[in-house]
Amino acid sequence: MTRKYTAHCVAILSYLGGLFLNTPVLAAKSPEPVLSFRLLTESEYRHSIADIFGPQIVIQGRFEPGRRIGGLLAASTNVLSVTPGGFEGYAKTAGSIAEQVTRPENRAQYIKCTPKSASAPDDACASQFISRYGRLLFRRPLSNEELKPRVALAAKITTSSKDFYTGLRYALAVTLLAAPEFLFQNERAVPAGRDLTLDAYSRASRLSYLMWNTTPDEEMLKAAASGELATDAGVAKQVDRLMASPRLETGMRAFFADMLQLDTFDNTVKDTLIYQKYNAQFGPSATEETLRTAIDLTLKSNGDVRDLMTTRKTTINRTLAAIYNVPFDFDGEWMPYEFSKESGRSGILTQVSMLSMFSHPGRSSPTKRGVALMDIFLCEPTPLPPANVDFSIVNNTNGPLKTVRERLLAHATTPACASCHTHSDPIGLSLEHFDSIGSERLTENGAPIDVSGKLNKKSFDGAAGLGQVLHDDPKFTACFARKLYSYGVGANSEDVDAASFKAAYKTFTDKGYRLRDLLKAIATSPEFFKVSAPQPAEKMAMQ
């Protein structure tokens, strides 16, 4: 079987040639220029394909890894480029999806017209197919200028392969699924007074990915087409609709997973000699527990977001039950559980996820935990340590300093170190009753562990004390609002102007810190869709 460098390759190449002759940089002549490209995350990609083609389509492939910026992977969608390797992955995935869609047994489902001949071009039917899926994949209708060359390509390939469906397949794979209009949210703007605001289709996209982590549904696309989404009332109506749906949970899960940095588990490994209870179920179980807690509290119970710092209610499976050393009832894979007050557990802070993601493979790390919690919950990232730090004291577990507290204090007395450590360490040290996998341990090298701490001049004891302090700290709720806003717009949370979400934050605080209120307030605020004009270039080769 020889490689099929057939004539349809010629067709594709000339299509691309035409592309470049007509339109510099951009892949298609579109209504307005694109102001920002936001690469779909892996889960957004998968959900979009599942919604457009159905969940039975198998998506096998490699995706570009995200990068955390300002504490959120969502922010990197705006700055990520597609590497050659990543591009290869997307292309192969696109080919595989298109092959499945055009398989004989699936044609009835996906191709609503029948070509006059199965071995010759049929522009009308090809057009129908391409424009239908083009609209769904690009999240807006294709213009004629976009449709024509794609239909022509399908025809060319049909001719050379003598199979209509092969033509559709390559058109779908090459010109739609592998196109930047699908892989990226193409955000376009229209003038709004002196500012720019996202156009209706871009709004549909941004709202859907925030609320449901997926592509805009039919009703959303219609609301964009009719101009409804260009109005405040229209936006409010769609926001209410999206938030009333159970699919809101998918969107909020994606948000919490990002904000709480749960993808850290992909790189978390524990020493199996030291931690018997660490196994392959560890990461997925801990991730699921934390997401269930977050969703149960903030969505299902419509509770006070601040209680994420203090609640002792959780949901655990058999693996987690062993780590927490509590009995498990086998009524289902997951069971609700409430820690006793004596357990010393407090909210998400002391769940296996938070405790283990920010620890070493073989021991806990108050500094790592403190730094992470400050970044995640207080929006206070810590700069990297200076290059010439001597870690020998703090890492010497066999020396005269028995507890990590003593070692850290010795390490952090130098002014250069103290500036950061005095902030992060008290947080981490208060969590020291929990080891690197989140199990309780009350002594270290035979000595009892001191978990007292001080934050912003407030003294507290242990995780429960820390939880209460964070619960009461307005920085936490402000940070939460900042992160939700940044996630929705794909911005670096450190660069976002507080004014962008100020009104939403006020609503949030006034009405008892409920996620729904915050989410609605953000999504219906003009700031959510506001975009800034790009800076003029310093130098251009050609004007």
Partner: protein, 443 residues
């Protein structure tokens, strides 16, 4: 108790061997991580050496010439079985030869057509290398210090005649948790073949309680091991109650639990098709709760010796073949030895002993043993249809001493070994050599 008090209490536990008694209801749970027959090894190292238990060492390989010799089987026939001309192998033992040999070993009686695994009494007792040592592990089941072994700790009258019969065989000989089938069964148990949980509860003090309750039973939960293969503590396991379960009262003294009752529990098993239940009649248990939270102990009683033979011989319809080849056993000798050494449960009608004394050792790791609101299902053995049929046939034959002829053979059905007179069937069987229920009959 506040957190601070808990810390102090923990430190004092670490420093002091035993906490002072507190009268309060308590529960302890364990998942069994090792389980095997309690056969005392009288040598110092290895599994084969001569020792006080077996002065000649472990029972050697069978001499198949000898085994196959009968009045009616000619030397030429024996030669053909041991060195089949049809197979182009340099006279060595391979899986095809195995099946030929098994098929022949099945017939060792005084007449050509008698299946002697079903009717072992239709052949002479070939004699068994039994344990002749004085030390044995187990319980004084008949409360008679004059009958039985002396335990390693010096207790007299320990009844463990299963040990006497099986203790010199290569399947079970060796130091604790080192014998061939012992290690193999353990590996399979920890890989999910079955599981045993033990729950102890009382109202006074786990170290000393006259009114304790012990439950022992099957758990369907997968046993969780760490990266080094050790069972992980603190996992939860359900206990099934429909079968393989016993609840008995017990007394605890200095952490050692002692109880007496008929005990039904999971049987020692290493194969998908020999899982199931065993009953220790007039059963006894003695389990020590160690300071490191583990459990060590013995379970014993009289077991139905015909059931034991039946399981060994027919856990597939031909597992006797495996035992007589790979495990160097002789099922006929085993039958006679079991019968001879049966020492309990006399049949009211015949006076014959139906039971043989036995003991099993086990260790456990701390765990949460949980009841379930729903019925807990038990994984049934994956057995061929033929196996239980053959076990029943044996039982009937041995109870009546009336020879039961071969049941009709159906060609192609799993585990069916054709009678030697049907040469064509024999060839077909050997070429296929496969079982069809997904379970290999490989030993």
């Amino acid at each position: 108790m506040t957190k601070a008090m808990r810390v102090l209490a923990l430190i004092s536990v670490v420093a002091v061997a035993a906490t002072p008694a507190l009268a309060a209801p308590w529960v302890r749970g364990f998942i069994v991580d090792q389980y095997e027959p309690a056969f005392y090894y009288g040598a110092k190292t290895g599994t084969m050496e001569p020792g006080t238990d077996c002065p000649k060492g472990t029972t050697p390989d069978n001499d198949y010439n000898l085994l196959l010799k009968t009045k009616w089987r000619s030397d030429a026939e024996i030669a053909k079985v041991l060195k089949p001309a049809t197979l182009e192998v340099d006279g060595t033992f391979n899986s095809q030869r195995e099946f030929l040999l098994s098929a022949a070993l099945r017939y060792r009686g005084f007449r050509r057509d008698i299946d002697t695994w079903v009717n072992p009494f239709a052949a002479q007792d070939p004699g068994m290398q039994e344990v002749t040592g004085k030390i044995g592990e187990g319980f004084d089941l008949d409360h008679n210090p004059k009958t039985g072994f002396i335990s390693p700790a010096g207790q007299k009258g320990v009844d463990n005649n299963l040990y006497r019969v099986m203790g010199c065989g290569m399947a079970y000989r060796g130091k604790p948790f080192s014998s061939y089938l012992g290690t193999r069964a353990n590996d399979k148990m920890l890989e999910g073949l079955f599981g045993i949980v033990i729950r102890v509860s009382g109202t006074k003090d786990p170290m000393n309680d006259d009114n304790a309750v012990v439950e022992i039973g099957y758990t369907p939960e997968r046993i969780i091991k760490d990266a080094a293969g050790k069972v992980v503590p603190d996992y939860s396991y359900r206990i099934a109650k429909a079968a393989q379960y016993t609840k008995l009262s017990a007394r605890i003294k200095n952490g050692v639990i002692v109880g007496e009752a008929d005990i039904r529990m999971p049987v020692f098993s290493w194969f998908e098709n020999n899982r199931g239940e065993i009953t220790f009649y007039k059963g006894r248990l003695q389990l020590g709760m160690n300071p490191d939270t583990s459990l060590t102990g013995l379970v014993g009683g009289y077991i139905d010796w015909r059931q034991y033979y039946g399981r060994d011989t027919f856990d597939t319809s031909s597992s006797a073949g495996t035992r007589e080849t790979y495990y160097h056993e002789n099922q006929l000798a085993k039958y006679y030895a079991l019968k001879r050494n049966a020492d309990g449960l006399p049949d009211p009608k015949t006076g014959q002993n139906m039971g043989i004394s036995a003991a099993f050792r086990l260790t456990g790791v701390r765990a949460y043993v949980r009841d379930s609101s729903k019925v807990v299902a038990i994984n049934e053995p994956l057995s061929s249809k033929a196996a239980p049929t053959y076990r029943e046939l044996f039982r009937k034959a041995s109870m009546t001493a009336v020879i039961i002829p071969d049941p009709p053979r159906r060609r192609g059905e799993d585990d069916e070994i054709p009678a030697p007179k049907d040469k064509e069937q024999q060839t077909v069987r050997n070429e296929e050599g496969k079982s069809t229920n997904g379970i290999s009959s490989d030993p």
